[in-house]
Symmetry: C2
Subunit: 201 residues, 2 copies
């Protein structure tokens, strides 16, 4: 570690994604100019983060308390499970305020080329929830909200094959043009999926 | 403070300049995925920053040891003092490797409208260095490297009036077109200063 405290903090900030050397230096000087509580609050939050955060034993969401706030909430519909690849994906779905069911976080997507098979993601845990006799035995629909990428699609297909035979409805979030997009500039795959996924008006 | 450790860290990251809510969340998840040492190193660096960093009693640079590394370095020319507004400005000059003298950091620029007069910046300290009998009595040139803004220019003028009568050479860093610029798109002030500041070839 560098001896100079500013250089040391700059170096550590520069390891954050999207933060270059100049930005890191600006951040370090910002901390220096802020009230002393800011630096100590941030330091404490960093230390507690790794200590407190664990996986929810039900949905594999990251949480300080097990089960997580969503799994514990009696107002959330236990009959629907939205399957996502990551916790930021879960938070993105939450921000829409569109979904009032529960989640399951896979912590990845199937990618055999990268050595990520069914055992490397939280698939067992999902199947246990659906087939078990726990609080989730009432699941009626699994909404697969993995990314619309090769890995996400493969994962969606894999889950569908495992879940559907058990009489549970499996749905996939829609693909199409993003809101505000221009047809002229849409890529072929997106446009063709938007057409095949057209809905009656 | 929020109870959820991720939300709490996200909130604190979002207070950094140029970091929005989404970026802050991405940073928090990056910390969560990094080796545990990263979070603890960063936390420690933050705590030590405010404890260790003080002003150099000679040049007002931020430093962990007084005097700072530059003031202590016997290879730096004590006959030249480069006056800058801030420590990032000092570091910018250092990066050029063009200047081998000493510095003086004003920690601001004169701005009467914002209530920043000569007493609010480190001007007294500069004058004490020039007129005192300390290690700086040999100063022969003061290079004013304040920003080419209204405040920076006013500060430069003010310092010139105070220092010049004492027989010390006062210079100002050049203003003109930045390297790689296009004359066609240069603003009027910059171009007129580039012309008035022309040099013999």
């Amino acid at each position: 570690m560098t001896v100079d405290p500013i250089a040391r903090l700059t170096l550590l900030f520069a390891r954050l994604p999207g933060v270059g050397e100049k930005t890191a230096q600006r951040l370090a000087f910002y901390v220096l100019k802020s009230p002393a509580e800011y630096a100590s609050d941030l330091a404490q939050a960093l230390l507690l983060l790794r200590q407190e955060v664990r996986l929810c034993s039900q949905c594999c969401n990251l949480t300080a308390q097990d089960p997580c706030a969503i799994c514990k909430d009696p107002l959330r519909d236990a009959r629907m499970i939205c399957v996502v690849e990551s916790v930021p994906d879960l938070l993105a779905v939450e921000r829409t305020r569109e979904f009032r069911g529960r989640y399951h976080v896979l912590h990845g997507a199937l990618s055999p080329l990268d050595g990520i098979g069914p055992d490397q993601i939280k698939l067992k845990e999902l199947l246990a929830r659906l087939h078990g006799t726990g609080p989730d035995e009432s699941v009626q629909e699994v909404i697969i909200a993995t990314d619309p990428t090769v890995e996400g699609e493969a994962t969606a297909l894999y889950i569908t094959r495992l879940v559907k035979p058990h009489g549970i409805r499996v749905t996939r979030i829609a693909q199409g043009l993003p809101s505000g997009a221009d047809l002229e500039y849409a890529d072929q795959i997106t446009l063709s999926r938007a057409i095949s996924g057209r809905r009656e008006l």
